[in-house]
């Protein structure tokens, strides 16, 4: 953003000041994530940069916390990771299925009471998690699903569907309905039309909604705190316990892995978004 040559000096100063402010905000946003990387390779047990690390002494760095994370005797991370992935996978499947079908209905111009129903379907995203947690806990306890994987999966489907509904309705908003009409007029039944015509076109939106649902479930701690028993511990639960009791570098090793994972998800989501915009002919 180069300034034109005729810019007066005090606007020039103001402009650089503005860029400086922006730089600070970006730094504030992103820098905290990068503290975790080096500290997770700390050879010592403290969560501060040791003198050796400041001198970049190779002996001050080690992989011991990563080894501890994977091989540690009392470490619950293996079980937690397994549970987290299983729960997130099923929650994502459920959310995508329910959310996509609902989004198809909501995007139809014949849908009655669209506004109210949409607001109701999105509400689990808006209602504070603690309230959702309490309500879902009462329900699951009543039907005997507290402290089971099924209960947690159902809870995460509730929390994940709003994201799928939002992304899929957004994708459908630019959808050209004449292609489905063309398919019907050529003799295709509705299910076939959906599978062969609609789904491939809205797939990027469906997948990015699925990614949101996955991350929501994978990262969710408040509701699981109420629902989980000892066998249902998840990565967020273990991190929560660790952060409350004692901040050990093992947690930072886990956190580093999670940051890598979220970077991968971010890249996928961005690629999908661009592909979706290209398919729908939105050029920005």
């Amino acid at each position: 953003m180069a300034l034109p040559k005729y810019t007066e000096p005090h606007y020039r100063v103001w402009h650089y000041f503005y860029l400086f402010i922006c730089g600070c905000v970006f730094f504030f946003l992103i820098a905290p994530l990068f503290v975790i990387f080096p500290l997770s390779f700390n050879a010592e047990e403290f969560l501060v940069f040791s003198e050796g690390m400041k001198r970049l002494d190779p002996d001050a760095f080690s992989l011991r916390w990563y080894k501890d994370m994977i091989y540690g005797t009392k470490n619950p991370w293996g079980l937690a990771a397994k549970n987290s992935f299983i729960i997130a996978l099923f929650a994502t499947l459920g959310s995508v299925l329910l959310g996509t079908v609902a989004a198809l209905g909501l995007s139809s111009r014949h849908m009655p009471y669209k506004g109210i129903i949409m607001a109701a379907l999105i509400s689990p995203m808006i209602v504070p998690l603690i309230i959702s947690g309490v309500a879902i806990f009462f329900f699951m306890a009543k039907v005997g699903l507290a402290a089971t994987h099924t209960g947690i999966v159902l809870a995460h489907i509730i929390l994940g569907t709003p994201f799928v509904v939002i992304t899929v309705t957004a994708t459908l908003s630019g959808f050209d309905h004449s292609v489905t009409r063309a398919a019907s007029s050529l003799g295709s039944d509705p299910v076939n039309t959906f599978m062969k015509i609609t789904l491939p076109l809205i797939l990027p939106g469906v997948i990015s909604g699925g990614l949101f649902a996955f991350v929501t479930s994978f990262d969710e701690v408040v509701v699981v705190l109420f629902l989980a028993g000892l066998d249902n511990t998840t990565i967020p639960i273990q991190m929560w316990t660790g952060l409350r009791e004692q901040l050990s570098p093992t947690i930072l090793a886990v956190a580093t892995c999670l940051i890598v994972l979220s970077t991968l998800i971010l890249v996928t989501a961005e690629l999908l978004r661009r592909r979706s915009e290209r398919i729908r002919g939105i050029n920005r």
């Binding site: 905290p32 994530l33 209905g105 506004g115 009462f138 569907t161 990262d219 705190l225 901040l247 956190a255």
Partner: protein
């Protein structure tokens, strides 16, 4: 020609109008059926349980069911002086049954919530009751402890008579119904909930302001830079957005600790001395800093999507018509961004007001919010009806803001990444 023949008919002989209406209705039903599975699922697993919370928060049948005879006998009692023999006898019979069933402990706990000192006199009564003779129970009970002859305790008992109560809601705003049935505030030194509500509002308000002040310039930069740079910078906004909340909170715990990098930096530039490093975590400062960073992307994204649609030629036009860049910004650009500001601020405020994890980890005692109090009653005191009542009070507030948000922005305009 009759009016019948004027109508256009379809090939089946049905008037076109009717046929179209039918098709329209069919389409409506089709669309609704598609939404049905999710709607039903949410009603059963989400809306109904929230209704259940409402029921729990006002349900007080436990005490009523434990003392059926007493409350029947109490109906005629005006509550001015000590009740008569009938009430005492009924209470004796009810309580004897509870002692036999070994459930009197629950009653003692509940009545002690109502008036302190109930627990001990109930226990004493239980011990002495074995030697009671038939008849004249009023005399015998009053001899057990002098508090049984105090009318206040009988009034407290009568207050628990109704099956449904809003006492938990009153407790949530530090009020209670006193002996005369008037609603009054609890003593000054015990008004903890009021402090929490005010603090929650204060934190949510200031976090929203901080987020707005920080998000506005960078959203503007992102919207005006050429695509190739802005996409790169957008990652700085989106990566935290996708990263686990606990990871981000953990990084703030490392940064803000007393030997942490922020404190190191303050010492280095000479702002504080090495031996008087300020405590920046486990208080309100920690809550503010961490929550602002965590919620910032939710402000940037709506602002960005609105700013993206504002044509740069508008600013140029403003300037060419004689405005300084500042006036052009203030009179032309800023008003156009107001929808984005509204959307971002409402979203951040809604999210901040119900925040739980971050305040619980970095907030300490002075930085915790109303959500933390709800969790405390759910997990520690096990006063679930009180937790439900507080939750519903919070929910009402959030839904009110959500309603405004829906009116102003529309839920279908929520932008995700």
């Amino acid at each position: 020609m009759s009016s019948e023949t004027q109508k256009i008919l379809t090939t089946d002989g049905i008037p076109l109008e009717e046929s179209l209406k039918k098709a329209e209705k069919k389409n409506k039903i089709k669309a609704f059926l598609l939404v049905c599975p999710l709607l039903l699922f949410l009603i059963i697993t989400y809306v109904f349980p929230i209704g259940d919370m409402l029921y729990r928060s006002v349900d007080d049948r436990m005490v009523t069911d434990m003392l059926p005879k007493t409350y029947k006998a109490m109906k005629q009692w005006d509550g001015k002086e000590l009740p008569d023999e009938k009430v005492f006898e009924a209470f004796y019979l009810d309580y004897k049954k509870l002692v036999e069933e070994k459930t009197f402990g629950k009653l003692a706990t509940q009545l002690n919530f109502e008036k302190n000192g109930f627990k001990s006199i109930l226990k004493k009564l239980k011990r002495k009751m074995k030697k009671f003779e038939e008849g004249n129970y009023k005399e015998q009970i009053m001899n057990v402890h002098k508090r049984w002859a105090d009318v206040e305790y009988w009034r407290a008992l009568k207050r628990r008579a109704p099956s449904y109560t809003y006492a938990k809601y009153l407790k949530g705003v530090d009020m209670y119904e006193n002996e005369d049935g008037k609603i009054v505030q609890v003593p000054e030194d015990r008004r903890i909930h009021k402090i929490l509500w005010l603090r929650t509002l204060e934190v949510a308000f200031f976090v929203t302001i901080f987020c707005f002040l920080m998000a506005y310039p960078i959203a503007h930069l992102l919207a005006t830079l050429p695509m190739k740079y802005s996409n790169l910078l957008m990652i700085c906004v989106l990566l935290p957005f996708w990263t686990s909340l606990l990871v981000r909170t953990a990084s703030w715990m490392i940064l803000l600790q007393q030997q942490g990098i922020v404190n190191d930096f303050f010492v280095m530039i000479g702002l504080v001395s090495d031996d008087s490093r300020p405590e920046m975590m486990y208080n309100k400062t920690g809550t503010y800093v961490a929550m602002t960073q965590i919620l910032l992307p939710f402000m940037v994204l709506p602002l960005y999507s609105v700013m993206k649609t504002i044509s740069p030629s508008l600013m140029r036009a403003g300037k060419s018509l004689g405005g300084t860049p500042f006036i052009a910004f203030w009179k032309v650009y800023f008003p156009l961004t107001i929808p984005g500001i509204g959307a971002g601020c409402l979203l951040v405020f809604i999210l901040a007001i119900g925040y739980y994890i971050t305040p619980a980890l970095v907030g300490g005692a002075s930085g915790t919010l109303i959500s933390n109090q709800i969790a405390f009653h759910m997990k520690s005191t096990l006063d679930w009806s009180f937790a439900s009542a507080m939750g519903l009070m919070l929910l009402t507030g959030v839904l009110a803001i959500y309603w405004v948000y829906n009116k102003l922005v529309g839920v279908d305009n929520i932008k995700l990444g």
